[in-house]
């Protein structure tokens, strides 16, 4: 039994083919497939659910509506002001995109696309672009960079503070990327380890393995539920942090 192979098989992306476009090659992989499924759900099912007037879809519609309204009233508007309400669609898309990519990893044969550094890096980059774009749009190019250093800092600290704040922009993005990736991958690894415990103890003796199996399965179920919580929590955190960063860039004071 090769634990490393099992882990790699379940956690790491599997690239099936590559499309060479100029200097880079675009991979076709399992995580891309999952992302595609999520995109398809978002593009097809969500508009259908939202636009339909049938009573059967009403609960789903209410669920989506509750989430969107929560994002608008509790995340977007408090952090970005009423001007930010126009961004509700962006944040709703971000939330559901991350949430569904998190959840699809809990489905059998599914894989967690957000448990891939490249994917979370892509998401963090969109946040990075949004933060800088809205900051420059609201305060002007020079105004935005002039306001990077918080008010009240003595002038002689500016040469020190400005590079730190500039780095802070990148670090925030990097932290977003790593936070989501680590949270999504950790649960999977823990589950795999718990399952491997059964075979590790089974190697000492069949009875030993049978004794450990129920405990392991119980722990796996617990971790699975924890992952369900984390899936929602991390989507929420990513969206909230994006809103906070964007709001801070839009309104420096």
């Amino acid at each position: 039994m090769d634990l490393k192979a099992i882990l790699e098989h379940h956690v790491v992306d599997q690239i099936w083919a590559r499309i060479p476009v100029g200097p880079v090659s675009l991979p076709l992989s399992k995580h891309l497939l999952m992302m595609g499924i999520v995109s398809l759900i978002l593009l097809v099912l969500f508009p259908v659910i939202i636009r339909s007037r049938s009573a059967a879809l009403a609960p789903l519609r209410s669920m989506i509506e509750i989430v969107v309204l929560f994002l608008r009233d509790e995340v977007v508007v408090p952090n970005m002001g009423h001007k930010g309400a126009a961004f509700t669609g962006y944040f709703a898309t971000l939330f559901f995109f991350i949430l569904l990519m998190n959840l699809i990893g809990l489905v059998p044969y599914g894989a967690t696309a957000t448990g891939n550094l490249a994917v979370t890096a892509g998401l963090a980059l969109t946040t990075f672009f949004l933060v800088n774009f809205s900051g420059i749009k609201n305060q002007g190019f020079f105004g935005y960079f002039a306001h990077l250093v918080p008010k009240g800092v003595p002038w002689w600290l500016y040469p020190l503070m400005f590079p730190i704040e500039l780095m802070g922009l990148l670090i925030k993005t990097f932290a977003l990327c790593i936070r989501l990736f680590a949270n999504m991958i950790a649960g999977h690894i823990v589950i795999l380890v718990f399952i491997c415990f059964i075979f590790i103890f089974g190697a000492f003796g069949t009875a030993f393995g049978l004794l450990v199996a129920p405990i392991s399965v119980g722990l796996v179920l617990f971790t699975l539920l924890l992952e369900l919580l984390v899936a929602f929590l991390q989507a929420y955190i990513f969206v909230t942090l994006t809103a906070i960063f964007t709001g801070a860039a839009m309104h420096p004071h």
């Binding site: 490393k4 882990l7 790699e8 956690v11 790491v12 992306d13 690239i15 590559r18 880079v24 090659s25 675009l26 991979p27 992989s29 995580h31 891309l32 992302m35 595609g36 995109s39 978002l42 593009l43 969500f46 508009p47 939202i50 636009r51 989506i64 509506e65 969107v68 309204l69 608008r72 509700t88 669609g89 962006y90 709703a92 898309t93 971000l94 995109f97 891939n116 550094l117 490249a118 994917v119 890096a121 892509g122 998401l123 980059l125 969109t126 991958i185």
Partner: protein, 173 residues
């Protein structure tokens, strides 16, 4: 395992492309109708609440008006009743006074009548008594005066008459 932490840049590109596409398409197909419906509903709720508040204010105003009117009506009824009571009292006094006066007049008339009647009765009685006594006297006289006495009396009368009128010669004496 190093594949876990080696980012595949192509996938990053896919992610960004996918996400931007989703943002563009979903904001048109999903979030716009959703938020539109929500805003419509919020506006409807606001409108309903305003309508309800207006209606409540109107109802309260109406209630206050009605209460004021009722109070006014009550006061009017009270004053009218008082007035009627006073009038009735006056009327009663007047009626009693009149009745008393009429009664007094009747009594007066009756008294007068009685007096007249009594006077007449007494006069009649007097006449009757006189007549009766006359009759009784006549009877008594008729019984008492006998022939002799009558003759004597007649002769005395005659003598007297002779004395008084000497011219008259009666021949006797």
């Amino acid at each position: 395992m190093e594949a876990l932490i080696r980012p595949e840049l192509g996938l990053t590109f896919w992610t960004i492309a996918c996400f931007i596409l989703l943002v563009v398409l979903l904001s048109k197909t999903a979030w716009k109708p959703l938020l539109h419906a929500v805003e419509e509903r919020e506006r409807g709720i606001k409108h309903d609440r305003q309508t309800a508040e207006t209606a409540r204010a109107e109802a309260e105003q109406l209630k206050a008006d009605l209460a004021a009117q009722l109070a006014q009506l009550k006061a009017e009824v009270h004053s009218r009743l008082d007035e009627a009571r006073v009038t009735a009292e006056k009327e009663k006094d007047l009626l009693i006074e009149e009745a008393r006066r009429a009664a007094a007049a009747i009594v007066e008339t009756a008294k007068k009548e009685i007096d007249v009647q009594r006077a007449e009765a007494s006069r009649e009685l007097k006449d009757k008594v006189a007549e009766l006594s006359l009759l009784a006297a006549e009877r008594i006289l008729l019984k008492q005066i006998d022939h002799k006495a009558n003759t004597e009396l007649a002769s005395r009368y005659l003598a007297e008459l002779e004395k008084e009128r000497p011219g008259l010669n009666l021949g006797n004496n």
